[in-house]
Symmetry: C2
Subunit: 491 residues, 2 copies
């Protein structure tokens, strides 16, 4: 089938005022991505015959049932993904929100084409034992330059799941070390821990929120409460889950109800912190519950969580695996909150490409070495890539631009919601950059129609469509997205 993008897609959408539409004449992406396609182009069903053949071949050795289509990454540029049948799609899903700066970003390709990167790939060190002489410099000019305010330390890891689990371990070790008050491990602790029993392996817990997603390994999955299919048949720790606010949108029209809902959730959180039989060492929370359906809460809710945890000696972990690195219009989403004191730990992965957690100060380091330790402890190749990402974000002002493009996209989506109130419901993410979602009663159909129209977007929660464009997404891409989406809804 031919692309459903109409000839007029680049015209101003009807719902955009002249004032909003003013934008720089030379857009950054046209200079950064000279080969970026002007628009989507869909020639076959997706997946098409060549994608299907590649998936059939792959299926013999690797589970492919979750796969959407097969891509030719060497043909992708900027915001556009090209599948194995030559279909060109505007990608507002971006590998589950993990591509920061567009496909084949020239600056990142340069970073990948350096002796430093080749050495990092071939001579991968055990970072905890034999780091390279450049490691401090790589951190200081990269990951730490981007550190959330008030957090000066970093522990690197490999994925969002293990970043969260290392943060949990830091919390448990910190808590028990405080309680031990400088005393050595007891003989009982040393013996019981080898049998996985208390007191050496304490029955302590991490509090998370209903609807939260923090990963799928055994510790992180015990805090994940998004969907049953993520958790079924996997043993889990007996840890508490507090209700996360279920707000009504638009937020400004439901201020009183929403404040009451947040107060209810906060009270229940505090009750759990005070009464859960397994002492709570840390609370983990996403700034926006992402896999869980893009559930928001107000800055005052998070401020209250910070106060409630600090008052109890419970650590606060902010999981910025999906929200971090610019998409909400701030580099870290929790910057929107204006917290009284920083979170104790902030975890990251996905668009950072590197993974790990930031922490406040050396007090959160274990009292002895080898307690937070593993062979690789991260990956310098990915830390180099993060540095390149951060350089480019800074050079092009992509966080600020994403805030601006997000406002433009929001206006367009509000227009869609006004014109199709049955199809675009509970629009959310205002002033959160391009990190926008809405509920769609016919979601699967809309997603399929959008894809057939040349737009790759994703789902979250039970009925949400989540937009996760890259940081190189501009107003011109928003126009195309809005146009395809409106066509998908109207059909």
């Amino acid at each position: 089938m031919l692309s459903s993008v109409r000839a007029g897609a680049r015209r101003l959408p009807r719902h955009v005022s002249r004032l909003q539409a003013v934008r720089p004449l030379a857009t950054a992406s046209s200079s950064v991505f000279p080969n970026e396609p002007p628009k989507p182009a869909v020639q076959t069903a997706i997946p098409g015959p060549r994608s299907k053949a590649a998936l059939a071949k792959l299926e013999k050795v690797f589970d492919t049932r979750s796969m959407n289509f097969v891509a030719d990454y060497d043909k992708c540029h900027g915001n556009y993904i090209v599948d194995h049948d030559g279909n060109v799609l505007l990608d507002a899903f971006a590998q589950i929100a993990s591509i920061p700066l567009g496909y084949n970003n020239p600056h990142l390709l340069e970073v990948a084409d350096t002796p430093e990167m080749r050495s990092a790939i071939v001579n991968r060190p055990a970072l905890g034992a034999f780091p390279s002489s450049e490691w401090a410099d790589i951190l200081e000019t990269g990951l730490l330059k981007a550190a959330p305010k008030g957090l000066s330390q970093v522990l690197t890891s490999m994925t969002g799941s293990d970043a969260n689990e290392l943060a949990f371990k830091a919390a448990f070790i910190w808590r028990r070390t405080q309680e031990r008050g400088g005393a050595d491990f007891t003989a009982e602790e040393l013996a019981s821990v080898m049998k996985n029993e208390a007191p050496g392996a304490p029955r302590y817990s991490i509090l998370s929120f209903e609807g939260g997603f923090h990963g799928r390994l055994f510790g992180s999955l015990s805090t994940t409460r998004s969907k049953a299919i993520h958790k079924l048949d996997i043993p889990a720790f007996d840890w508490p889950a507090a209700p996360f606010p279920r707000l009504k949108y638009p937020l400004e029209e439901h201020a009183a109800e929403n404040a009451a809902e947040e107060a209810r959730c906060l009270a229940e959180t505090e009750r759990l912190l005070d009464t859960w039989p397994q002492p709570v060492a840390a609370l983990i929370v996403e700034p926006i519950q992402s896999e869980g359906g893009d559930n928001h809460a107000s800055p005052s809710f998070f401020q209250a969580l910070r106060k409630a945890t600090a008052a109890r000696g419970v650590l606060m972990i902010v999981d910025e695996v999906q929200t971090g690195v610019g998409a909400t219009g701030r580099f870290w989403a929790h910057e929107h909150w204006d917290l009284p004191t920083p979170p104790d730990m902030v975890t990251f992965s996905k668009k950072a490409q590197a993974a790990g957690f930031y922490y406040k100060d050396a007090a959160l380091r274990p009292d002895r070495p080898y307690r937070q330790y593993n062979t690789w402890m991260g990956d310098p190749a990915r830390a180099l890539l993060f540095r390149g990402i951060h350089e480019e974000v800074t050079r092009l002002g992509l966080v600020e631009r994403t805030a601006r493009v997000g406002r433009y996209l929001w206006e367009g989506l509000e227009g869609l919601a006004r014109r199709h109130p049955g199809e675009v419901q509970n629009l959310r993410g205002k002033e959160r950059g391009t990190f926008i979602a809405f509920d769609s009663p016919r979601r699967e159909e809309v997603l399929a129609r959008a894809r057939a129209g040349g737009l790759n977007i994703g789902a979250s929660g039970d009925r949400a469509i989540r937009l996760r464009p890259m940081l190189v997404f501009e107003e011109k891409h928003a126009d195309i997205l809005l146009d395809i989406l409106e066509n998908a809804i109207k059909k």
Copy 2:
């Protein structure tokens, strides 16, 4: 201080017969690594002043207490690591057994310098949703070419810890799916799992062995039983640990005692499989307990484990994270066992650089998609590197050579043990390539003296020194190792 390698180090060591010493005139490493140093050269204490300054700088933002020294990886070649003070050490620890083919291996540098690798770094896909069109080919020409006999499928991940945890998840899902017998999830399962409660989150278990090491995340750490410091203060699952044989060495001199010890451990394993209150879904075992102190067991012990698990419908996971990829003189260490049927899963990482697990057939895939799923599901960059590693291992016959060099090294160490029976005890790893260890009553002192003499080696367990050379380690390197080690012992 000057290198302690005496001028005569390259002469035949006294303990090597002429016959044993015959070896190819042109050694592979001299052609592969034209810049490999001829011998170690130590000029300063280790860590020296420049390493110390770099560590002090790094300490401000990253925990450095476990670090040995800081390396200049661009100056390292082959078997030699060069620290930031210019000291040149023969590296028989190899980043905790994770460098397969020597520093700055020319073939791997070529692999790292390809458009394919740059694309893999910059355009990292969500493999479970949008794999590249080359993914099947990368697997077939790499990871699957090296697959253990009888295992045709692979699931990729990021580290040894998460590889093991994904294998555990596969086992739990498989077990519960069998028990469910095709029925759908019950309402009770769907509701209880969101509260981390049975039956949705079943109280099932993984059996591991005392002394085993399988990683340090929450599920893998629950099976790790190496040292208390690895586990203290971290909540753990109530899972069983069976005794692992504590054999006497040399094995051939203690055949009857060792057989009795293995029978005892096997009986206790079977008792735990039959009686542990939380049904055992899988047993995980290392071919050689590596972190735990290089503890061996006989092929017949592992054959019996295979039979005991198969008879009970318990899956058998062989953890080849440290033993895999050639160091034992077979590509996979469990090839030494001649099992009646293959293990159900084999996990890998470290020298593979890629990570994940192999499995028997599609029956071990979950019954529905999205049950074993995460954003990245591995890393094509590391799968490309694995392919390069496997190519080079095959081209140079490095597994066979490691078997040969291992015999040479073993003979040399036997000589050391004869001459210094109080210092080299319980030598073990005969016919296991270069995967050799011994107990050292003055271990910390010996390790420090060896390092001062230009040899980087590691410890394991309570008193073992483990040798973990790379696959490019040759007889000439063994001579140097033996010489430095003997000097370190004699002092």
